[in-house]
């Protein structure tokens, strides 16, 4: 790899298998740290918050010092990408098993997808209404991503929504506000389109311009 190394700090909230996310980030040339230590989170520049399963266990794991460390890192100019449950954790609240407060970094609340379609929503679905954003550099209206979930955000300010998906209802599949972003789908399982989004995120968090030899590697 030429140019400066990129790093990614994966916040391990203790639930689910994060191995394939770590493998994808390494494949793109990132040096990956895995931690829930507040000091490591505070000093990170490029944070990734993954999650699978239910909302509440990782929410409780982050409550207190790790959550404060995330806020401090963001104040210091870090970027944060939430994935799947990690994405849902970024919003104001979730209604999975009663109402639980989220991190409140993105506006909106997480609700169950309506019936009439198979749940969980598992498989490849199209993301449409794609906004102009560094994360979505090179993406098109025909890009599909891999989803595994039953809940999704709603009531999200329109200016924060970078792309939508349809399953029972239309929901924000990619959302960003400031240096906080998230995807309901799994970019690490979404083939070339997903790797491109992760590569864009690494470049965005490190304030790299595309194509100058300093971008992360991988196909």
């Amino acid at each position: 790899m030429t140019g400066p190394a990129v790093s990614a700090t994966v916040i391990d909230a203790g639930v689910g298998n994060i191995g394939n996310l770590v493998r994808a980030l390494r494949h793109l040339g990132a040096e990956v740290g895995i931690t829930c230590d507040p000091a490591a989170i505070r000093s990170a520049r490029c944070l990734v918050l993954p999650g699978v399963g239910a909302f509440r266990p990782p929410r409780e794991r982050l409550r207190g010092a790790p959550e404060e460390a995330i806020r401090t890192a963001l104040e210091r100019g870090a970027c944060l990408l939430g994935i799947c449950i990690g994405y849902q954790l970024l919003f104001d609240s979730s209604e999975e098993f009663g109402t639980t407060d989220g991190l409140g970094l993105l506006g909106g609340r997480v609700t169950e997808l309506p019936g009439g379609v198979p749940l969980p929503h598992i498989g490849w679905n199209r993301v449409f209404g794609v906004a102009e954003h560094p994360l979505l550099e090179g993406s098109t209206e025909d890009d599909h991503y891999y989803f595994v979930h039953s809940f999704a955000p709603e009531g999200v300010p329109e200016e924060s929504v970078l792309g939508r998906c349809r399953h029972g209802r239309s929901f924000p599949a990619i959302t960003s506000h400031g240096r906080v972003a998230g995807t309901q789908f799994h970019p690490e399982k979404s083939g070339a389109a997903g790797l491109r989004l992760l590569r864009n995120y690494l470049a965005w968090a490190h304030e790299l311009e595309g194509g100058d030899g300093a971008t992360p590697t991988g196909d």
């Binding site: 379609v117 198979p118 969980p120």
Partner: protein, 264 residues
């Protein structure tokens, strides 16, 4: 042209299946006369680049020989292939499942062990979530002696062992116990390239609330379309891909006219 009023944009999946024996891709007719088809990681990477929506690995030697699934090729594949990977064969406990998921599998295929111990499906689903648990059912048509619908029997150990279970009843029980997906293989059709068992697929898709993956018998593009017509969520094929009869891309281009398909 894309329909904009569909309640979902979910696509039908095209899944190459790699039968693995001793760390090599193999294929035979009705699980016999196995021939070598190369390295699993290389094959999976090639199919992913062509646009495969998922890769299913079946370690077909694991159950009869009762050895642990060799995990090195799973790790190597997960480091290079970034689409969902399903691995079946040799999962007999929650611990077996955990090792496979840590090696990089996204889904666990359970076949023989579930027949022997149906509670395993529940334990795996409770520990890892139903989305991880794929019940793999090998079904064989019963002899039509009484003149009425004989149905299909579940067979295990690569088709060698009859179980007495009715395939459709077993599918329903498996879903109730926690399976999130059904990989349904017709043992009569497998490897013949004469088409899927469409009646089996139609009956299974009609009763299953979870996705049914059609398997066994793909030989032509029409066969794959016929299988999706039964309501199957995905079509699995091996020979036509390994022998380069069709690329995954060519299959998707053909099916894209009739079904929502992800064109990578």
């Amino acid at each position: 042209m894309r329909a904009t009023i569909e309640p979902t944009g979910l696509t039908r999946r095209i899944i190459p299946c790699l039968d693995v024996a001793a760390g090599r891709v193999v294929k035979g007719v009705q699980f016999k006369n196995l021939t070598d088809h190369g390295d699993p990681t290389e094959a999976a990477a090639r199919y992913a680049a062509e646009g495969a929506d998922e890769i299913v690995f079946l370690d077909i030697t694991a159950a009869p020989e009762r050895r642990d699934t060799d995990l090195d090729w799973v790790r190597r594949t997960a480091e290079q292939v970034f689409i969902p990977l399903s691995v079946g064969g040799g999962v007999r406990s929650v611990d077996d499942g955990r090792r496979l998921l840590l090696a990089g599998a996204d889904k666990l295929g359970i076949n023989t062990a579930a027949v022997a111990e149906p509670e395993l499906l529940t334990r795996l689903a409770e520990r890892f979530g139903s989305q991880c648990v794929v019940l793999s059912v090998d079904a064989k048509r019963r002899d039509d002696t009484a003149g009425e619908d004989p149905g299909w029997e579940v067979v295990t150990h690569g088709g060698r062992t009859p179980t007495g279970l009715d395939a459709l009843e077993w599918i329903l029980e498996g879903i109730q116990r926690g399976a999130g997906e059904i990989l349904l293989t017709s043992i009569d059709s497998d490897g013949t390239k004469e088409g899927y068992d469409l009646e089996l697929l139609r009956r299974a898709s009609a009763l299953s609330p979870v996705p049914v993956i059609a398997s066994g018998g793909a030989g032509t593009l029409e066969h794959l379309g016929d299988a999706l017509d039964t309501g199957a969520a995905a079509v699995l094929a091996a020979s036509i891909f390994h022998q380069s009869t069709y690329s995954v891309g060519a299959v998707k281009e053909y099916l894209d006219r009739r079904y929502p398909i992800r064109i990578a």
